[in-house]
Structures are given as structure tokens and as C-alpha cells.
């Protein structure tokens, strides 16, 4: 298992796309949290005692989706460039490969989410400071903020991972991954109304920001819904990965 893990980490860290996506996420966060929400924002908005916490949750809901592409590409490149045959013949169990990718993507997503959770409010503080604005004393549950943001970032990456392992087509997985939250769930949300928080991406976005769902759920309940989707998705992808031809 350890050699497979080392190999998967090396794969993630030796492609340009990982660094490009990371840099894009940090730049977007810096722009929105630092410039728009810190430097340019009305000074009254900074008097809200939860303004910094909302920067973290807002950032992870948006850039968490983008960072998920790093995980998607880690698996997608294997099929696009047919390196999957080397990966599978280097290991004596296919599920080892699946699990190693799961772990590597999880570690990357958790680290990224932690960075964004603190980087986003930091950008707001710096932006406000540069504009000469004061931020009111902040009141929020740090532990809850951290776990909900990390869960959201991890959840996005897991959804992307499950999609690519099932579809095995990079372009198809990218399009599907974007269409489901941006169009699919918005349309379904109109039909399902209050029950839309049971949709996979809506539930995930409800973990760091449950109030946006109209107080129908708590972070914990939304996380539970997400875990059910992830559990089923991972089981399906594991069965397919073990039984299908390599590519």
C-alpha cells in the first residue's frame, strides 16, 4: 500500500495542473475576500461580528469546487494518457490503487480547505487594513468553522473523484461535475423547493452555510446527507473499478 501511496502523491505533485489550480484558487480568494470584501466593501459591512467567518464559508463553497479539479485530473490523466495500465500492473490489488487515490485526494483537499479557511479572512483583514477600515470584534465557533469548511472542500473533491472513477473520461467528468451543481441542482431546486437540501451539492454547500437553506437543516444533518451520497458513490465506483476492463 505504501509504494502505491507514494506514487500517487508524486503524481499529484508533478503535474502543472495541480499548481495552476491551487494558484487560481488562491488568486480568486485574494481578489474576492481581500479586494472586494475587504478593500472595496462598505465600512458598515465590516461591523458584522460574523463577517470573517462568512468569508471562510463563502470562499470554500466557491473555490472548493475549483480545487476538486486537481483530484479529478489525478485520476482523469490516468485514463486520458493510458498510464492506468502501469498503475494497475504495479499493484497486486485494484482496490489498493482506488484507496490510495482516495487518500491522496482527501489529504490534498483537507490541506487546501484548511488553507482557504484561514487565508480568506486574512485577505479580508489585509484588504480592510489597506483601505483604512476597522473590523468589529468577531464572534464565531472556530472548531465548527474549521470542520464545516474542511468537510465542504473534501466533499467537493470526493464528488469529483467518484465521477471520474465512474465515467473514466476526463472531459465527460469535468462537464458533468460542473453541470450538476450549476444547472442540474438549480433546476431541481425549483421543483423540490424545501427538499432541495437533500440534493448532493446543495447539501454539501449547506454544511458550512446552513442558514442559506432556510434553517431547514443543520451542518451536521447536511453532512450526513453528503456522507450517504459519498458512501454509495464510493461503493459503486469501487465495484466498477474492480470489475471493469482497465480502460
Amino acid at each position: 500500500m505504501f509504494p502505491t501511496l507514494k506514487s500517487e502523491f508524486r503524481k499529484l505533485l508533478t503535474v502543472r495542473s495541480t499548481y495552476f489550480i491551487l494558484a487560481a484558487c488562491l488568486a480568486i480568494t485574494a481578489f474576492f475576500a481581500g479586494f472586494i470584501q475587504g478593500f472595496q466593501v462598505n465600512a458598515n459591512s465590516l461591523k458584522d461580528p460574523g463577517v470573517l467567518a462568512s468569508q471562510s464559508t463563502g470562499a470554500i463553497v466557491f473555490v472548493g469546487l475549483i480545487f476538486a479539479f486537481a483530484g479529478l485530473l489525478l485520476a482523469g490523466h490516468e485514463y486520458r494518457y493510458n498510464t492506468i495500465m502501469y498503475t494497475l500492473t504495479s499493484s497486486n490489488r485494484r482496490l489498493k490503487v482506488l484507496f490510495a487515490k482516495f487518500l491522496v485526494i482527501s489529504v490534498a483537499a483537507v490541506l487546501f480547505s484548511l488553507i482557504i479557511t484561514f487565508f480568506s479572512p486574512l485577505c479580508t483583514i489585509i484588504g480592510a487594513h489597506l483601505a483604512g477600515k476597522d473590523i468589529s470584534p468577531q464572534h464565531f465557533d472556530v472548531w465548527k468553522l474549521v470542520w464545516t469548511c474542511v468537510f465542504c472542500g473534501w466533499g467537493y473533491s470526493m464528488y469529483a473523484y467518484i465521477l471520474i472513477m465512474i465515467l473514466r473520461n476526463q472531459v465527460g467528468a469535468i462537464v458533468t461535475f460542473l453541470l450538476i451543481p450549476l444547472i442540474g441542482e438549480n433546476i431541481l431546486g425549483l421543483l423540490l423547493k424545501k427538499n432541495s437540501h437533500y440534493l448532493p451539492f446543495t447539501a454539501l454547500q449547506g454544511v458550512p452555510a446552513p442558514t442559506e437553506l432556510g434553517n431547514h437543516t443543520t451542518s451536521g444533518a447536511s453532512a450526513l446527507v453528503v456522507l450517504v451520497y459519498l458512501g454509495v458513490g464510493l461503493i459503486v465506483s469501487a465495484i466498477l473499478f474492480a470489475r471493469r476492463d482497465a480502460n
Partner: protein, 302 residues
């Protein structure tokens, strides 16, 4: 020894591999021949467990997944361009070394061995097909495996590269390893391989040595030229020989040059030319696979 037993694979109604059994011996280069669409690549993938199908393949009596580090048992090259184009050649091999539990020092050794040291830091997306093949071979030998399985490794190699590959594979087999290699370059295969496995439409056609396959070809025989051909022909008709007229002489199958020389002497027939003719591997291959081509032009089909 690699033992392949009753491999089979279907894609819907189409049978890609049909009850295929053969063995690959150590110390030898075994060629894998067949027309396009015969099922060579599918067979290789089945042997490695990349495709799911019936039958089994054992490597020294153990299935590949029973080994802790399969890439140290068999090295593969199934596709020349199987790498991420923007990772350097060295990074590509380091990933494979990590996955196979191989020391990273080995990466530079294999790059040197295949002649890619100078481009170790280059991105293989810009490599020619020949360079890509060399990188693929480097990947295959990374774990110093006992078995090598190469699918069309000579494609894209220049003459110097082909000569290098031939010597390399022969040396690898001579060191007590087994090399299983498919190729459409039949002249190369005849120089490189000790044994050949020939398949057509997924079925085994021949599993034998190169010498055997050439000598059993209808294109093999003895050519004899004489001013008294009719006398010699009458004398030969009493023997179990196949005779045909060719280029002002006779082509005789089923008798040796000694047999024919003796017969000519006994019948007072002067002989101007008496020579053993061997079929080329191409002739033998075309003869063996006639009718089993998946894709043939109308002219060929006629």
C-alpha cells in the same frame, strides 16, 4: 515460465480471444504474431489482468496478483505514448519506481541503458515515437523483471534503434529471462525470436520454434536446375515429393539436397544448381494466417 491457459474474451457477440493456451519459456524471445485484429493486444491485457475474461495466466505457477510487487515480475510496454506529456521522463519513471517499490537510483540506470539520459529532464510529450518507445522500454525494465511483455516495441525506431532493440532483447532473454514481443516487422522477428506464437481471429494457429515454422512452410524446398529436367522430374515422381516448375528449374519439397543429388547421379542427370530454399517468416506467416485476417483489402481477399 509463463503458462497461458484457455484465455477467452468476448465483446458482446464478437469473440476476441478464443480458448487460447500457450507457454512462454525463459531464456528465449517469443514472438507474438497475428494479423490486425487477431486479438494480440487483448491477449496481452488478459494475461496481465487488465481486461476481465476467462482462463488464467501464471508466472512461475503463480498468478500475477499473488506477487507482492508485480512490476518486479513482469515489465510491460503496451503503448508507446502511455505517459503524461508534461511530466519529465525522469519524473514519469520515478512515479513507476515508487509504485513498484523500486529504488529511485534505478531510474537513472534505465535511462542510461535505453539512451535517454540526455533528455531525462525533457517532457516526453515532445518525444518522437522512437524516443517514446525507448522510454516505454525503460519503464518495462525498471523493476528488473524476469518477464518482459512488449507490444510492437519496434514501431517508430530507426534502423539503429531496431538493431539496438534486437540485441537488447536477445541479451535480456539470454540472461535467463523471458521476452514476449509482438511485432509486424517479420524480418526483425525472424532474427530476434526463438519461438513464435501465431494467432488469428483470437485462436491459436501455431506455437512453435522459428525454425519449425519456416521449414514447414510450403515456400521451403530445394531448387534444382539441370539441362535434363524431364528425366529428373520422372525420377522424382517415384519419391514422396512435391514438384513444381520454377524459373527454368524445379522446386522440390519433401526431399533434402542430398536425396536429390544422389537421385540425379543415379540417373546420369547433370546438375547446374542445387540449393536449399527457406521460406521467409513473412511467407510462412501469410500462409499460416490466410483466411484469418480481420481486415483485408478486396485484392488481398481474392
Amino acid at each position: 515460465m509463463i503458462q497461458v491457459d484457455h484465455l477467452n474474451k468476448r465483446y458482446g457477440k464478437k469473440v476476441a480471444v478464443d480458448d487460447l493456451s500457450f507457454r512462454i519459456e525463459t531464456g528465449k524471445v517469443t514472438g507474438f504474431l497475428g494479423p490486425n485484429g487477431a486479438g494480440k493486444s487483448t491477449t496481452m491485457r488478459l494475461m496481465l489482468g487488465l481486461d476481465n475474461g476467462g482462463g488464467k495466466t501464471t508466472f512461475d505457477n503463480k498468478k500475477l496478483h499473488e506477487y507482492a510487487r508485480p512490476s518486479q515480475v513482469i515489465g510491460i510496454l503496451l503503448e508507446a505514448k502511455a505517459f503524461h506529456p508534461t511530466r519529465t521522463a525522469r519524473q514519469h519513471l520515478r512515479i513507476l519506481a515508487n509504485a513498484g517499490g523500486v529504488s529511485l537510483k534505478r531510474v537513472d540506470e534505465v535511462l542510461e541503458e535505453v539512451g535517454l539520459s540526455k533528455v531525462a529532464k525533457s517532457k516526453p510529450g515532445k518525444f518522437s515515437l522512437g524516443m517514446s518507445q525507448r522510454l516505454g522500454i525503460a519503464a518495462a525494465i525498471l523493476g528488473k523483471p524476469k518477464y518482459l511483455m512488449l507490444d510492437e516495441p519496434a514501431n517508430g525506431l530507426d534502423p539503429e534503434g531496431i538493431a539496438w532493440l534486437r540485441d537488447f532483447l536477445k541479451d535480456y532473454a539470454d540472461a535467463g529471462n523471458a521476452v514476449f514481443v509482438s511485432s509486424h516487422l517479420l524480418s526483425e522477428m525472424s532474427q530476434m525470436a526463438d519461438n513464435v506464437v501465431v494467432i488469428g481471429k483470437g485462436k491459436l494457429i501455431a506455437d512453435t520454434s522459428i525454425g519449425e515454422i519456416l521449414s514447414s512452410s510450403g515456400h521451403s524446398g530445394v531448387f534444382v536446375r539441370s539441362p535434363k529436367l524431364s528425366v529428373l522430374e520422372r525420377a522424382l515422381q517415384g519419391r514422396k515429393a512435391e514438384i513444381s516448375k520454377l524459373d527454368g528449374g524445379l522446386k522440390v519439397s519433401g526431399l533434402t539436397t542430398e536425396d536429390i543429388g544422389k537421385l540425379a547421379f543415379e540417373n546420369n542427370v547433370p546438375v547446374y544448381e542445387l540449393v536449399q530454399q527457406s521460406a521467409s517468416l513473412e511467407e510462412a506467416f501469410l500462409e499460416l494466417t490466410a483466411g484469418s485476417e480481420e481486415f483485408a483489402s478486396q485484392k488481398e481477399a481474392k
